[in-house]
């Protein structure tokens, strides 16, 4: 992505926005109180607009720089978004939805991840994104490319200037570390 290559740049931004949208929808899908379309649509548009702006305003030096920046922004937007919808003042807490048990005015209770291992509510998602932020740099970079940006290992290796094998290792490590962190299990020596 050369400087001035607007088309490539726009494509990357669009790609990031798409991914953000997908992730946001995925997160909110597990949050039935805010799933009504008025709410979710707002969320997407606002989040995507914000991401678009942040990416528009920077001049990435390289694809690597761009992808990392985009992934970081996606995380930030998603975390902020969760915060908006989670907690006593969150929008979601003010909307009751038929079929959802419990007190509609209370924030959703924290629940452990479901059997798929995927975060099951916004609190977990927020925590997950934060934990990604806390990964060692090399693992975070790979995680950014492979998960937030959906690049193949080969492409990620190309962007990072390392071997696909290295990408694979960091990807394994990142997943391992994240799971342990989420479950509160100690990392082995």
């Amino acid at each position: 992505m050369r400087a001035g290559d607007q088309t490539a740049r726009q494509r990357l931004i669009e790609h990031s926005c798409e991914r953000l949208r997908g992730l946001a929808r995925k997160m909110l899908r597990q949050y039935p109180k805010v799933r009504r379309w008025e709410e979710t649509d707002d969320v997407f548009v606002e989040a995507v607009t914000r991401l678009h702006h942040s990416l528009e305003s920077v001049r990435p030096e390289s694809p690597r720089h761009f992808y990392n920046l985009a992934a970081t922004q996606i995380r930030r937007v998603l975390i902020d978004l969760s915060r908006r919808y989670y907690g006593p003042e969150g929008l979601g807490s003010r909307h009751d939805t038929v079929g959802i048990g419990g007190d509609g005015n209370a924030p959703p209770k924290y629940e452990k991840a479901d059997s798929s291992g995927e975060p099951s509510d916004l609190a977990e998602w927020t925590e997950f994104h934060r934990q990604v932020d806390a990964l060692p740099e090399e693992e975070r970079e790979v995680f950014n490319l492979v998960w937030y940006q959906q690049l193949t290992h080969d492409r990620a290796a190309e962007v990072l200037g390392v071997t696909a094998r290295t990408v694979r290792r960091h990807w394994q490590d990142a997943r391992y570390r994240l799971y342990k962190a989420r479950m509160g299990e100690p990392l082995p020596e």
Binding site: D42, G117, L178, P188
Partner: protein, 526 residues
């Protein structure tokens, strides 16, 4: 240790590779040569298995993400036949909000349009109730520029609502097929839509999805707003079709969406409809959306931040005042727009007709002078049996045989000159004039039909009348649209004489001036 680590990573890679091939390798087998690594490998395998969700491909994620927005169920797709009280005849459309069928009420034998909502829209009892409540509110609306909703119901698990079947084309299709509209037409259609919105807003209903494809032009030249109030039920916008890409769907119809609605739907009030109508007006005149851009985000951001393009640049024939109205409609901040559709209707109607009183007086004066000249010339001819060139400036002007009277109407908020004219065949024509511009409406019997007629045009300072837009009911406007129209106000002859070329050939017409009849009409203010 390093060797152990390398060996362990190799084992882990091997395990992943086999798993990718659909196998479920046992830890014991894998660690046959290095049993001391088995426990560690087991722990990693457990963790990585639990992290499978992170490894789904983009496509899988997309499917999962969007899959829920499944279109209609197979049952819905196959559902032709009976739905409640209605027999479905044929599918006539579809889109974001479900499929539309031509249907007939089984008892009343009335042909209607039935819109079948995707089940995902009305899944919970609460949404069903809300839907029914909204439909009841919509059913109470009655306005010529709104597609009437009659009924709603549920049958076989499908929710539907019933509305008028409109014989016509939506404006998106109209422009696509016929090209951009003339100024007069575009303004007329925007004005009609605005009147429908004005009424809806007065009933507390905001559309939120005004766009050309939601405005139907019937065969009588009447624009009707479709899907009023229904946008609120739009759950997962990727169900929208036709002119939207998947991305576009999620963000709604971005080409017509005001900035505040893009940012937060709840912030969008009635002024959002004004913005969307402004974008629609631009499209009608240019055939293009307000902002270009290959990606949805580009367009979305443009709506929010880029200044609206000049209407006159895109449509050089657009008058300056129209550009002004358009700009006010599409102001970024709602507070900079028209604050009500009533204001918009008033401005649009007023500006699309006259610009100032000065013009009105000039025209009246011109007409009076011309009348004087004609009268003097006629009198001289009658007395002397010869023709002379009139000398209007030196003659005492004669008054028109029928004075224009003045009135304020809801349709034309400014006081306007009104002539009531009887055509030579007995047609009653009311001409409402603002300055040089006029709107003439007529209603007359033609065989068994009562034909209503509406023309717009301009009377020049020399008394020449030019019709630029004519439409009639019940016949389609095209059939009656004169290609050439001109007329001369002939006050002394108590007539407006003109000539128009229609499809079938030339047609001379004469309108006779008579006293105004309407009770609304008042004497000319001094």
């Amino acid at each position: 240790m390093s060797t152990d680590t390398d060996q362990f990573r190799d084992l882990l890679d091997r395990w992943e590779d086999l798993r990718d091939q659909g196998q479920e390798p046992s830890i014991e087998e894998l660690c046959g040569d290095a049993p001391h690594l088995a426990e560690r490998l087991r722990d990693w395998v457990r963790v990585l298995k639990m992290s499978d969700w992170l490894c789904r491909s983009a496509d899988e994620v997309a499917d999962e993400t969007f899959g829920e927005a499944a279109a209609l169920t197979p049952e819905e797709k196959d559902r032709h036949g009976v739905l409640g009280e209605y027999t479905l005849l044929e599918e006539i459309g579809g889109g974001g909000m479900g499929r539309v069928f031509k249907a007939v009420h089984r008892k009343m034998d009335r042909t209607v349009a039935v819109k079948l909502l995707p089940e995902s829209l009305v899944r919970s009892p609460e949404s069903v109730e809300r839907f029914q409540r909204e439909i009841q509110a919509l059913a109470r609306l009655s306005h010529p520029n709104i597609v009437a909703v009659h009924d709603a119901g549920a049958a076989d698990g499908a929710h539907y609502y019933v509305m008028d079947l409109i014989d016509g084309r939506d404006l998106a299709r109209f422009v696509k097929e016929d090209g951009p509209l003339s100024i007069q037409r575009a303004v007329d259609y925007a004005l009609q839509a605005a009147r429908g919105l004005e009424y809806a807003h007065s009933q507390g209903i905001v559309h939120r999805d005004i766009k050309p494809s939601n405005l139907i032009l019937d065969r009588n030249g009447t624009v009707k707003i479709l899907d009023l109030g229904i946008a609120r039920f739009q759950p997962l916008p990727e169900q929208a079709g036709d002119d939207l890409t998947r991305t576009g769907c999620v963000l709604g119809t971005v080409d017509y969406m005001p900035p505040e609605q893009a940012m937060n739907t709840r912030r969008a009030d009635h002024r959002a409809d004004i913005y969307s109508l402004g974008c629609t007006l631009y499209f009608l005149l240019t055939g293009q959306p307000l902002f270009g851009g290959d990606t949805v985000m580009e367009r979305l951001v443009a709506h929010r931040e880029h200044p609206a393009p000049s209407l006159r640049k895109a449509c050089p024939t657009a008058p300056g005042w129209l550009d002004g109205v358009f700009r006010k409609m599409v102001a970024k901040k709602p507070e900079d727009r028209y604050q009500s559709v009533t204001d918009l209707v008033s401005d649009l109607a007023q500006r699309s007709a006259p610009r100032s009183w000065r013009w009105l007086w000039l025209v009246v004066l011109t007409v009076l002078l011309a009348a004087g000249a004609w009268g003097a010339w006629s009198a001289r001819t009658a007395f002397h049996g010869e023709s002379h060139t009139p000398e209007p400036a030196q003659q005492k002007p004669l008054e028109l045989p029928v004075k224009p009277t003045w009135r304020t109407t809801s349709e034309y908020p400014l006081i306007a000159g009104v002539w009531t004219i009887v055509q030579n065949k007995g047609t009653l024509v009311t001409v409402v004039q603002h300055g040089g511009d006029f709107v003439a409406t007529a209603s007359y019997k033609s065989g068994k039909e009562t034909v209503s007629w509406r023309a717009e045009g301009r009377i020049s300072r020399s008394g020449h009348l030019t019709m630029s837009f004519v439409h009639t009911q019940p016949h389609p406007p095209d059939k009656w649209l004169p290609q050439t129209r001109t007329a001369v106000l002939n006050p002394n002859g108590k007539a407006l004489e003109g000539y128009a070329v229609f499809e079938g050939g030339g047609h001379k017409f004469t309108w006779k001036l008579v006293e105004p009849r309407s009770a609304e009409e008042k004497e000319l203010p001094k």
